[in-house]
Symmetry: C2
Subunit: 164 residues, 2 copies
């Protein structure tokens, strides 16, 4: 069962009530958020973001990989953001497997060789936030002046806990 028609119908209802008009391209609140793709996370809702407020970068784990760094550099250099939030979450799928596990599954399923690839799983949630804050802080193409805040989002309560 494809969700295509349901998505198009929902989009029609959204567009019918759309009153945002021509919002500017640069984020109004000068913020970029890096967080996980997890289905249970709705960053706009749990941070109180409206359309136009903030860049939202999401991938498996909410990791500061090259794609996130590339996106942050574009966000800061071309679109004027000057603050970063890194938000991982409890019960993350990235805590449940190792690189060896996923590489073996992909080898068996697709005969694909990915042993030279890092899928960026992690074993410690708060430490993964700190690792990614450090990766952003130490990137040569991200501003040293932009504060970087780290949090863990609790999927059972909807609450953010700061990571020091």
């Amino acid at each position: 069962m494809s969700e295509q028609k349901a998505f198009e119908d929902a989009n029609g209802r959204y567009a019918a009530k759309f009153e945002k008009g021509a919002l500017p391209m640069p984020p109004g609140r000068h913020v970029a958020v890096v967080t996980c793709m997890d289905a249970r996370l709705d960053p706009a809702k749990f941070l109180g973001l409206s359309e136009g407020d903030a860049h939202v970068i999401r991938n498996a784990g909410g990791r500061a990989d090259w794609s996130a760094i590339r996106s942050l550099a574009i966000s800061q250099e071309l679109l004027g953001t000057n603050e970063v939030f890194v938000i991982h979450h409890t019960d993350c799928g990235m805590l449940t497997f190792s690189n060896g596990d996923i590489q073996e599954r992909l080898r068996k399923k697709y005969r694909a060789e990915t042993s030279d690839r890092d899928f960026l799983p992690f074993k410690d949630l708060e430490e993964s936030v700190r690792d990614d804050m450090r990766a952003i802080r130490s990137s040569s193409i991200v501003s040293k002046d932009a504060p970087i805040h780290g949090y863990v989002y609790d999927v059972k309560t909807g609450r953010l806990k700061p990571v020091k």
Copy 2:
């Protein structure tokens, strides 16, 4: 002016009304969405997604880069999604610069050498959607059975237009 307190306050209000309880980790609607980090896009709103429905992968441009492919492989292989939506949008920042432009800016600002890095800008919006659909389709670690749908989101109207 940091947005940290505003985000924490908004999160407190969200958590106070949070009634989702323990949603399962796998996306309930078996969908993964790849879209841009742009501040004007709220994919949950414009697709009608609730918490728990779909993986949402976002980066500058909504590109099918390694991070997105890594995330899709994890999404499909470990968390059971079987349908992909690639959504780029009008007035995208990625249409406004070349690799040479951003590399030169980063060189001047940070003395950083990124000439071997691709920031994945594009010149044609619909073609960039097709390119990314092809990149996903041709990946050796993404399911050949999962439909891939392409759209351009219009930031002035909130409306999705299919890309064939």
